[in-house]
C-alpha cells in the first residue's frame, strides 16, 4: 500500500535524521566542551526552532528559497530548478526545524562524560579520536539514540514548515501529515483515520526504542 505520501515522509524523516546526525555529533561535542562567552547565545539561536511558530519559520525559509534571492537563486543556477516546492527544499527546511531535537539530548549526554575519563584514556595511550569512539560515543549512546528518535518522529509529523516550503505537491512534497489534512478537507475521514493510525503506531514504536536505550545503572 505504500502510497507516494508515505514514500516522501519516510525518505524525508530518514534523510533528516542521518544528515543531522553527521552535523550534530561534532557540533554537540563542541558545544558541550567549549567555554567562551558567546556560547549561550549560539545555543539560544540553535534552539529557536523549538519556540518559533512553524509557519513563521516556514515563511522565512520560503523567502530565501525562491529563485530571486540567495541561496535560492544559486540553487536554481546550479540545478535549473527552484529550491522551494521541491523535495530538497523540504529537506533543508526539515533540517533547520529539527536541529534542537537532535542537538539537545546529544549535548546533555556529552556533558555527562567527565573530562577525567578522557584524561584517563589519554594516559592509557588513546588520542582524541580513539577516546571519542571508545569512551564518549558508548557513554553518550542513550542521548544520541533519543536525539535520533525525536528527530525522526518530529519529522514524520511536521506540518507547518513543510506546507509553507513544500506547497503540498503530490509525489514530491506532500507528506502523510499533509495528506491527512487534505483528506479531512475532502471529508475522507476513513482515509484520514488510516494514515493517522499508522502515524500513532510509528510514534509508539519510536518511544519503545528510546525506552530500550534508557541509561543503565551508571547514569541516572
Amino acid at each position: 500500500m505504500p502510497s507516494s505520501e508515505w514514500t516522501v515522509t519516510l525518505a524525508l524523516a530518514m534523510s533528516t535524521t542521518l544528515v543531522l546526525l553527521m552535523v550534530c555529533l561534532p557540533l554537540a561535542w563542541w558545544l558541550a566542551r567549549a567555554r567562551f562567552p558567546g556560547r549561550s547565545i549560539i545555543e539560544a539561536i540553535l534552539s529557536l526552532p523549538l519556540v518559533l511558530p512553524p509557519t513563521v519559520l516556514g515563511f522565512y525559509l520560503l523567502m530565501v528559497m525562491g529563485p530571486e534571492r540567495w541561496p535560492g537563486s544559486w540553487y536554481t543556477q546550479m540545478t535549473g530548478e527552484t529550491l522551494a516546492f521541491s523535495f530538497v527544499g523540504i529537506l533543508v527546511a526539515s533540517l533547520m526545524a529539527n536541529i534542537p531535537f537532535m542537538l539537545g539530548p546529544m549535548v546533555a549526554s556529552f556533558r555527562g562524560v567527565e573530562e577525567e575519563l578522557l584524561e584517563a584514556a589519554a594516559c592509557l595511550g588513546d588520542g582524541p579520536w580513539r577516546s571519542f569512539s571508545r569512551v564518549v560515543i558508548p557513554m553518550a549512546w542513550p542521548g544520541i539514540v533519543s536525539g535520533m528518535a525525536l528527530t525522526f518522529a518530529h519529522t514524520m509529523g511536521e506540518f507547518g514548515v513543510i506546507l509553507m516550503v513544500g506547497g503540498n505537491v503530490e509525489g514530491r512534497t506532500r507528506t502523510v501529515a499533509l495528506a491527512i489534512y487534505d483528506d479531512v478537507q475532502g471529508l475522507q475521514y476513513q482515509q484520514a483515520n488510516q494514515s493517522a493510525m499508522m502515524l500513532v503506531a510509528v510514534s509508539i514504536a519510536l518511544l519503545v526504542v528510546i525506552q530500550a536505550w534508557r541509561p543503565r545503572g551508571w547514569l541516572r
Binding site: 577525567e116 575519563l117 584524561e119 584514556a121 589519554a122 592509557l124 595511550g125 588520542g127 558508548p138 551508571w218
Partner: protein, 382 residues
C-alpha cells in the same frame, strides 16, 4: 645517555600564584617522590604537567633521553605518547566498561589470547578476579582502587603518578593499603611521583619529599632529612611539629646550646649554622610528662620544665596535652599515661624533653615578627 626523570617548570596558577617546581630522580630505579602540601599549593598541577594534561608556561620535562616538554624548543609531547601511568583521585574508571574491560583498556595491538591471559594475571594479582564481569559502580571502593591500579600498571608505564590516590577511601582501609602500595612501588621499579596532604601517608610511602606551599617548593630532599631538620617554619608546622617557639641562644658548649625562650631555658643539640635567634621545634611525642621531678642527674642531657596543665584533648588513640610553661608546649601521651598521671587542667606538671629531640632552626629576619606571636599548635589534617 641521560637516565634521569627531570622536571623543571613554571605555571601561572591564578593571577597571583605561580607554581614553580624542580626535581629529578633516577628514571630506571624505584623511588617515590612525594609532593606534599595543603590544598591549592600547586602539587596536583605539577603532577598534571608531568602527565601532559596541563601545559607549563616555562621549563623542561624530560624522561631519560626523551624530552616531553620544552618551552624553549616548543616541544610538547601529547599525554598518550608519554607512556605515563596516572592514578586519579576518584579512580576515573570507565563506567560503561566491566572491570575486565577497564583493565584491558590500554592493551592494544596484542593477540586476543595473550590479552586475556595478561588481564587474567593482573586481575588475579590485584584480587579482583571475582568481580571481572561487574561494572565499576557495582564494586567496593577498595576494589575500584585496585582496578584502577591494575589498569594503570598493565601497560607498563615509564613513570607512575598518583594524585591523592587514597583520599576517597576510609582511614582504616587507607592504612592497610600503605603496605600494599609500598610493595607495589618496589616491584614497579620505576619512578613514582605521589601527591598527598597526609603526612603519615608521606612518611609511609615516600623516599623523597618536596614540601609545597603557595606554588613554591619550600624544602626538598630525602624523606628522613626533611622530617628531621625542616629548614623553614612552615615546613616544620606542616610536617607536624606541634610546638614551635622562638628564642635566643645564650650559651654554647660541646655541641650543645642553651636557648632562652622568655623565662625558660632549653638545652638542645646546636646545629653548626645556628645564628643567635632560633626556632625551637618540639614534637608532641618527644615530650614526656611527670608529676614530680626526677633526682637531677648532672650528666643527663634532659630538659625538665615546670608548668601547669592547660588543656587536654583527644587525638586519636592519644591525648594531646597543652602544658603552660610560660608558653604552651604540646605533649602527646597515651590514654593510660593520662589516667595514671591524673591529668586535669590546672594541676602542676613537669615536662621532660631530651636535648636530642629538640630541633633548632635558624630564624630568617622577616620571619621574626610573624612567628613571635604564634606558639599555638597547628595540625594540618584537621
Amino acid at each position: 645517555m641521560n637516565d634521569l626523570l627531570r622536571v623543571n617548570l613554571e605555571k601561572a596558577y591564578s593571577s597571583d600564584v605561580v607554581i614553580r617546581a624542580a626535581f629529578s630522580m633516577p628514571a630506571e630505579e624505584a623511588g617515590v617522590q612525594i609532593l606534599f602540601g595543603p590544598s591549592a599549593s600547586g602539587k596536583s598541577t605539577v603532577l598534571r604537567c608531568v602527565a601532559g594534561l596541563t601545559k607549563p608556561d616555562r621549563g623542561k620535562i624530560a624522561c631519560g633521553d626523551d624530552v616531553w616538554f620544552d618551552a624553549a624548543g616548543r616541544i610538547d609531547i601529547a599525554t598518550q605518547k608519554r607512556r605515563i601511568g596516572l592514578l586519579f583521585q576518584q579512580h576515573a574508571l570507565f563506567p560503561h566498561l566491566t572491570v575486565f574491560e577497564n583493565v584491558a583498556y590500554g592493551l592494544r595491538e596484542i593477540h586476543p589470547a595473550e590479552r586475556r591471559r595478561l588481564v587474567g594475571e593482573y586481575l588475579e594479582r590485584f584480587r579482583i578476579s571475582e568481580c571481572a564481569a561487574r561494572l565499576p559502580h557495582q564494586i567496593s571502593g577498595g576494589q575500584q582502587q585496585r582496578t584502577a591500579l591494575a589498569r594503570t600498571l598493565i601497560v607498563k608505564p615509564r613513570v607512575l603518578l598518583l594524585d591523592e590516590p587514597l583520599s576517597s577511601l576510609d582511614t582504616l582501609l587507607r592504612e592497610k593499603l600503605w603496605t600494599e602500595l609500598r610493595e607495589l612501588f618496589t616491584a614497579f621499579g620505576k619512578p613514582v611521583i605521589m601527591v598527598t596532604h597526609d603526612r603519615r601517608e608521606a612518611i609511609a610511602l615516600g623516599t623523597h619529599l618536596a614540601v609545597l606551599k603557595d606554588g613554591e617548593i619550600l624544602q626538598q630532599g630525602r624523606m628522613a632529612d626533611v622530617f628531621s631538620s625542616p629548614q623553614h617554619v612552615d615546613v616544620a608546622r606542616m610536617l607536624g611539629v606541634e610546638t614551635i617557639l622562638t628564642g635566643v641562644i645564650t650559651r654554647r658548649e660541646a655541641g650543645m646550646a642553651v636557648v632562652k625562650v622568655a623565662e625558660q631555658e632549653f638545652l638542645a643539640v646546636c646545629p653548626e649554622d645556628a645564628q643567635e635567634r632560633v626556632h625551637v621545634c618540639i614534637r608532641g611525642e618527644d615530650v614526656t610528662l611527670r608529676r614530680s621531678a626526677e633526682p637531677v642527674d648532672v650528666t643527663s642531657v634532659r630538659n625538665q620544665l615546670r608548668g601547669k596543665v592547660h588543656s587536654i584533648e583527644d587525638a586519636g588513640a592519644l591525648k594531646q596535652v597543652q602544658v603552660d610553661i610560660g608558653h604552651l608546649l604540646t605533649a602527646l601521651v597515651t590514654r593510660h599515661a593520662a589516667e595514671e598521671l591524673q591529668l586535669a587542667p590546672g594541676i602542676p606538671i613537669i615536662a621532660q624533653i631530651k636535648a636530642t629531640a629538640i630541633h633548632l632552626m635558624p630564624v630568617s629576619v622577616k620571619e621574626i615578627q610573624r612567628v613571635e606571636n604564634v606558639n599555638q599548635s597547628t595540625n594540618l589534617d584537621t
